[in-house]
Amino acid sequence: MSPTPTLTPVLSERWDADRSWTLSSYEAHGGYRGLRKALSMDAGDLVTTVKDSGLRGRGGAGFPTGLKWSFLPAPDGGPRYLVVNADESEPGTCKDIPLMMADPQVLVEGVAITSYAIGCHHAFIYLRGEVVHVYRRLLQAVEEAYAQGYLGKDILGSGYDLDVTVHAGAGAYICGEETALLDSLEGRRGQPRLKPPFPAVAGLYARPTVVNNVESIASVPGIVLGGSDWFREMGTDKSPGHGIFSLSGHVARPGQYEAPFGITMRELLEMAGGVREGHELKFWTPGGSSTPIFTAEHLDVPLTYDDVSAAGSMLGTRALQVFDETVSVVKAVSRWIQFYKHESCGKCTPCREGTFWLAQVLGRLEAGQGDPGDIELLLDLCDNILGKAFCALGDGATSPVTSAVQYFREEFEAGMHSAADELFPPERSSLFAYTPRRTSGRLAGVHA
């Protein structure tokens, strides 16, 4: 790792500009030079450039982006589609929404370049519906890009045509799963499809489709402009480039820190002013709630796809949620499982029933009313979900449970006689002083 950790603002570089979301601001900061260059290149060479850059999918799975593009079958005369996954909903993940709020044009430029590279003439941006102002900014960005000739017919005189539709979802975490997203975009319930066939072969309207995350697509203009070697000057050999690391929770200065891959949590925490004053780190997530939790012993793991994986978790979306010693891990996990239970689409039994059972067992452990054998029951339930669910939602739900039991088993044992709120009074964790009104384990107003 580099001796002195630094940040490498590329995507975040324009976020503090005056009216940064407008096309004129974006152009004033060099915007759309990437598209001009791309349109002068052979589409196949663009795919090769992105392949050579080593860009890996920024939506969590880390699959090489250029490789994904190259999986599209040869053109058969029918349409092929680009769909941008802007359904950012993984607990802890908060990078794409601020990116699109501050700089929607970089995404539009990335969409135009990518569409050209893969031979797509109608691209979609699927945005979660719960962020209206981001939707406004995206709608306006696309309107401005059309007006300036960056979208539409005969883009910049190249003869290339592209239409872009910005589509708002309606509240369903599962739609972040790419095949569920496609079903949702087709006007159906957002439930995942059996794979294969993969979207590259039969995606939107059963046509060849590339589905990429916002940050992946937003990284493309820079790669085209700078070249793959430029991109590889940042990060590591297998996890090259820049990425947005999102620190939240019990840190002094939570926020977005764009750094080369391979930076460590210790370094990022120091940049963010450390754990809030007077407290110490207890556990953290490297990539959202679906990635196994880490503890202080993992602070020096380089944040690359492979190193985090070797250490027993996943880099995911670099959603670094920090929890200090005041937090009950049983309560944290119990709440996450409530989320998975709520968001399970119901299509497959292991996930639909499994998350329901997990929530019940965790609920009684949180209330201090766990039964002997509950820990084994939790692990058994996880074993019956992991690898057996239809999509990654079920797998992800097991991550916080198994990892929390691994590192904090004694807290689950305590759940057989003591309520989480008694062992860890919640008012010590909150950012403001207050007196809790309710008794432990009962969530006021919850019917679900």
Binding site: R19, E27, G157, E186, G445
Partner: protein, 280 residues
């Protein structure tokens, strides 16, 4: 196919107005059914929930059965099956926000308003919701009002905003337009109708900019682009634009220019394939 309309119908004027909107929505998609989600937002902008008339309208517009429309409407949490309040107040009680204070904010609001999750005050002003992670964790605890961001909330700040809504006063989100729109107004935006407020509000809040500010303070930058034009403030003129813009009609590489758009799109075979995949 003829769809039997089992629901109530909008009056002719409303129907005509919505049909004109719906035509615009449909024009954005190669396949009409893709318009269903925005159309459901559209009928919410009319009725404040997905009403029987709204379901019938979507079914008729897209040549679906009302059962097919209802199946979709009931899957997504933003579609309401009962008349929604003028403002949806959503308190994030997912793990991180809940622990940072969201639970306390929730307790306070539910007690003040005397309603629970997904319930509406008697005056029809406020629908209260426990919401899931809304992608603003660095602003925890977060509250959303009609899906606009109210960052770094406390029980006092949340109660103040809700009190002003009940009193009929305008409220401004932390990051968003100058004034939060009503549930119906915002639903229309979600149907894809830009309301012209995109230029209001900030680009980013303080947490979004923390890394960038730290980088500026330390002089940390990404490597310069190879051509030496790393100074992004040097102006809009792309240096090489003249050279690189290919001539009209010049061969554009490998793209065999498959036509986009509905007309050329599918073919029955494709539909059949897709249909059978769906059934599996």
């Amino acid at each position: 196919m003829t769809v039997v309309n089992t629901g109530r119908r909008y009056d002719d004027a409303t129907h005509a107005r919505l049909a004109a909107d719906a035509a615009q929505v449909l024009s954005r998609y190669p396949d009409p059914r893709s318009a269903l989600l925005p159309l459901l937002h559209l009928v919410q902008s009319e009725d404040g929930f997905v009403s029987p008339s709204g379901i019938a309208f979507c079914a008729e517009t897209l040549d679906l059965s009302t059962a097919q429309v209802s199946a979709v409407a009931t899957f997504y949490t933003q579609y309401k099956r009962r008349p929604n309040g003028e403002y949806t107040v959503g308190v994030c009680t997912n793990t991180l926000c809940g622990i940072m204070g969201g639970d306390a904010i929730w307790e306070d609001l539910t007690e003040r308003l005397g309603i629970g999750n997904d319930e509406t005050t008697a005056d029809g002003k406020i629908t209260l919701e426990r919401i899931e992670c809304n992608a603003a964790c660095d602003y925890a605890p977060v509250m959303m009002i009609n899906w606009e961001f109210f960052d770094n909330q406390t029980p006092e700040s949340a109660a103040d905003v809700v009190g002003r809504l009940i009193a009929g006063e305008p409220v401004a989100p932390t990051r968003g337009p100058d004034r939060v729109g009503t549930f119906k107004e915002v639903s229309r935006v979600l149907a894809g109708f830009n309301d012209g407020h995109a230029n209001e509000g900030v680009a980013a809040g303080a947490p979004t900019l923390r890394g960038l500010e730290l980088a500026r303070a330390h002089g940390w930058t990404a490597p310069a682009y190879p051509d030496g034009d790393s100074d992004s403030d040097s102006g809009a003129a792309p240096l090489d634009a003249g050279d690189t813009t290919p001539g009209v009609g010049e061969p554009q590489s490998s793209t065999d220019r498959p036509a986009a758009g509905a007309q050329e799109r599918s073919g029955e075979q494709e539909k059949t394939e897709h249909g059978s995949e769906k059934e599996s």
